[in-house]
C-alpha cells in the first residue's frame, strides 16, 4: 500500500557506499517495521515465559526486538553477498544454509526445515500441475501482471 518515495537528495551521505534497501525507507516505515518486530518478539517471549515459568521485563523484550532488528540488517547484507558471490540476484536456501554454517546445530535445524519446505513445495507444484491441466493454466496468467507492476518500484 505504501511505496517509499525516493528522493535523491537525502538518501546517502557518501556516494561511494552502495545504496541499501534500508536507505530507501522513510523513517515512519522503519518505525512500523520495528513495531511489527517488537510485537512478534513480545508474543514469542510470552510463549517462552509460559513454558519456562519466568518473567520478561518490558526492557528485556524491547532489547531483544532491537537486537533482532539489527541482526536482520547483518543477515540481509550477508545473504546479498552470498547470492552475488554465486552470480545470482535471488537469495536461495543455499545462501541461508551458508549463513548458518557456523553453528552446526543451527545448520542441522535449518537444513531439516528447508527439506520440509522443498518437499511441501513439490507437493503443491504437483497439485498445481494437476489442477492447471484441468483448468488450462489459469494461475500462471493471474500472477504475471503482479510481478510486472512491482518492477518499477524496485529500480
Amino acid at each position: 500500500c505504501c511505496v517509499p518515495v525516493q528522493r535523491p537528495g537525502d538518501l546517502c551521505a557518501s556516494p561511494c557506499v552502495a545504496l541499501r534497501r534500508t536507505d530507501l525507507l522513510v523513517p515512519w516505515v522503519l518505525q512500523r517495521l520495528k513495531a511489527a518486530v517488537h510485537y512478534t518478539v513480545g508474543c514469542l517471549c510470552q510463549e517462552v515465559a509460559e513454558d519456562q515459568d519466568v518473567q520478561f521485563s518490558k526492557q528485556t523484550i524491547a532489547a531483544i526486538s532491537e537486537i533482532t532488528f539489527r541482526q536482520c540488517e547483518n543477515f540481509a547484507k550477508d545473504l546479498e553477498m552470498f547470492a552475488r558471490h554465486a552470480k545470482r540476484t535471488t537469495v536461495t536456501t543455499e545462501d541461508v544454509k551458508l549463513l548458518a554454517r557456523r553453528s552446526s546445530s543451527l545448520l542441522k535445524y535449518i537444513a531439516q526445515k528447508s527439506e520440509e519446505i522443498t518437499s511441501s513445495n513439490m507437493e503443491q507444484k504437483e497439485k498445481k500441475k494437476k489442477s492447471s491441466a484441468v483448468k488450462g493454466g489459469r494461475t500462471g496468467k493471474q500472477e504475471a501482471p503482479v510481478t510486472e507492476s512491482e518492477e518499477p518500484n524496485m529500480a
Binding site: V17, A18, D78, M81, F82, H85, A86, L98
Partner: protein, 114 residues
C-alpha cells in the same frame, strides 16, 4: 636409516612469535605462545573449511580471490568502509602488494594483467 617423522605442515613458530609480539606490545610467556600456535592451527583448519564451502557455493573447484573476500567480509575485516585493497596496502609488504594490486608501470603496462 631412521625414518623422519612426518609432521603436519604449519607456520614456523618463530614467525608466529614475531608477529604476535609485534602486535601484543607487552611481554608474553612461553606457554601463551604455545596456545597461540595451537590457535593458529585451529584457525587454518576453520578457514580452509569455510573457503571450501564458499567455493562449492559458487560451483567452482578452485579457491579464488572472490572467495577470500567473502570470507574476510564474514569475518568483519572487509566492510563497505574498509575495502580489501586497503587492508592489502596496510598489512602486506611491497613485493606482495605488487602482485595483488594493479600498478601502472612504464611502457603503458599494468601489472598484474587485469
Amino acid at each position: 636409516v631412521p625414518q623422519r617423522k612426518t609432521r603436519e605442515p604449519e607456520i614456523a613458530s618463530s614467525l608466529i612469535k614475531k608477529i604476535f609480539s609485534h602486535y601484543a606490545k607487552m611481554p608474553v610467556t612461553r606457554d601463551a605462545f604455545k596456545i597461540v600456535e595451537k590457535c593458529c592451527e585451529r584457525y587454518f583448519k576453520q578457514v580452509c573449511n569455510d573457503l571450501e564451502a564458499y567455493t562449492n557455493h559458487a560451483r567452482r573447484k578452485t579457491v579464488e580471490k572472490a572467495d577470500l573476500e567473502v570470507l574476510m567480509r564474514r569475518q568483519g575485516l572487509v566492510t563497505d568502509k574498509m575495502p580489501l585493497h586497503v587492508l592489502i596496502e596496510r598489512y602486506l609488504p611491497l613485493e606482495y602488494r605488487k602482485l595483488l594490486i594493479p600498478v601502472a608501470i612504464s611502457g603503458n603496462r599494468v601489472v598484474p594483467c587485469p
